[in-house]
Amino acid sequence: MATRALDLAASGTLAGPAPRRSTLALFLRKNPLGAVGGLLMGLLIVTAVLAEVLATHNPIRTSTQVLAAPGADHWLGTDNLGRDLYSRVVHGSRISIVVGLAATLLGAGLGGLIGLLSGYAGGKTDLVAQRLMDIMQALPILVLALVMAAALGPSLTNTIVAISVVIVPRAARVVRSSVLAIREFVYVEAARALGVRHARVALRHILPNTFGPFIVLVTAQLGGAILTEATLSFLGLGIPEPYPSWGRMLSIAAAEYAEKAPWLVIYPGLAISLAVFGTNLLGDALRDTLDPRLRGS
């Protein structure tokens, strides 16, 4: 009850999927910001996929041209080991999107499953699951991620796991509230009355209707996941070398050279901000579209 308004604001949809043809056009027209977000996200994905093609140098190749200013040879300059910043930023997009997506999908998937089961089953299972989710959510994101990263060690998989753990309870909550609402619908009761098995009811009737809030959740959490990865890498606990991670490019080492080479601080930070900005814009727009209550007027 206390979280109802929050749920509404964060997810909320009870309607089924709208007809496909007009959705995109409607979406773009009514949500210019969302279009911008979509564009940024598209740019991010394209850069990540085509990193080798778009980069001008090997991102981990060191050279003797240390702390060079942006120029013809190195479009965004070089860092303190003579590595090309532009290429590192381009390859960094791959890390960000891979880690961000993997962590979000893993966390949201797992959390969604828990939410589905817990919401549908109700009773004791629900109670226990809810307490577990509360416990996971009560600890501050970064602290939990920190302790996990410290416990597991800095590596690609460990970072993904650490970040996904944080997303699980949020996904569970969102899916659960959807399920709770849908469960009351008459057609579900009817299906049960007709003798349809639980699993079938859950999968065929309830699950598809949670897609809306689920998508919204994924895009909403994606930005957070990218940011958490950046913060972990900044603190030295995330993606290890030699993978170029935007967050780690900004870590203390870069701050040291900031006065001499401000581009080292500006561009990776800008990249993170734009990527997260894009996901947030898109997520906002999706939510606005899919939530009928906020539509219109």
Partner: protein, 318 residues
């Protein structure tokens, strides 16, 4: 009502217990333990010495025993000893608490002061340029890494203005002006992000409330718009905001960690990172539990406050 409170309290206790176990287990999972740390700084390991130290520190016992001991001590108020500094943990944590609390309060204050009015304006002027502009600004706050914002701010300050607040902590009792000057920037860096969330929540809550019947009734009755807004709508929209603050609290800690590092404030959050890296178990466990307790208490208070304030419950419209 009383039943509800009791139920929530019980849930809170269970949550805390679960968290204590989680924290404890996670810390023990990490490779390396405190004897390694102590020896690390000296550069070599003597097996006999290490075993003696392990026995002295009680870490050679099985994990459930260690957990039980720790829990009993924590509940009785004994926060144990910092292995690294050989001092009572409380003595190491105590001087750092006021710093973090001050930063958190200032950051929260800023985020509310900035977030709520912008959320209201954005809701009232929905669809207009002001709405878009404010949403973009607040979204930028959510998108920027707070440590990046902090670094850019310091860069600008040092480079262009030459204005540098004290790099070493100044207590507010020593010099309130210098202290506020020192905390202003970090609070901004942390609070900007929170303000974005508050703005968004305020906006959607306001939007929902603005459509409610009793608002329309008030309008129909001819009451002035501003009065309607500020008296009725805001009061009720404030509920999810209060809830958010409870949840945001946990999130705030994350921002505090990086900000305290970048601005060199000797707070609890930054110390947590240090302690994790050196496996100073008592400090990590007790700090994490402390944070957990505060977070759960904050959520509990908020929940109870919400239930008490909800007009739908008040007016009987559940």
């Amino acid at each position: 009502m009383r039943v509800y409170v009791a139920k929530r309290l019980a849930i809170a206790v269970v949550t805390l217990l679960g968290m204590s176990m989680l924290i404890f287990v996670l810390m023990r999972l990490a490779p390396g333990n405190i004897t390694d740390i102590i020896f690390e700084s000296a550069g070599y390991v003597d097996e006999a010495d290490r075993r003696r130290l392990a026995a002295e520190l009680g870490i050679d016992r099985p994990i459930p025993v260690q957990y039980g001991r720790w829990l009993a001590e924590f509940l009785s108020g004994d926060l144990g000893k910092s292995y690294r500094y050989d001092l009572p943990a409380w003595e190491v944590i105590k001087p750092r608490l006021p710093v973090t609390v001050e930063l958190a309060v200032l950051a929260l204050g800023f985020s509310i002061l900035f977030g709520v009015p912008t959320g209201v304006i954005s809701a009232i002027r929905r669809g207009r340029p002001v709405d878009y502009a404010l949403r973009v600004v607040s979204l930028a706050g959510l998108s920027m890494p707070s440590f990046w914002l902090a670094m850019v701010v310091i860069l600008l300050l040092v480079r262009s203005l030459g204005l540098i607040p004290s790099m070493t902590y100044v207590s507010p009792f020593e010099n309130l002006g210098a202290n506020l000057f020192q905390f202003m920037l970090p609070a901004l860096a942390v609070g900007y992000r929170s303000s974005a969330l508050i703005m968004r929540i305020t906006r959607s809550a306001m939007l929902e409330v603005l459509r409610e019947d009793y608002i329309r009734t008030a309008w129909a009755k001819g009451q002035r718009e501003t009065l309607v807004v500020w008296r009725h709508a805001l009061k009720n929209a404030s509920l999810p905001v209060i809830t958010l603050i409870g949840i945001e609290f946990a999130f705030l800690i994350g921002g505090l960690i990086v900000t305290e590092t970048v601005f060199n404030l000797p707070g609890v959050a930054r110390y947590l990172v240090d302690a994790i890296q050196v496996r100073d178990y008592p400090i990590v466990q007790n700090l994490a539990m402390l944070i957990a307790v505060v977070t759960v208490l904050a959520n509990l208070t908020v929940d109870l406050l919400y239930t008490w304030l909800d007009p739908r419950i008040k007016y009987g419209k559940a």
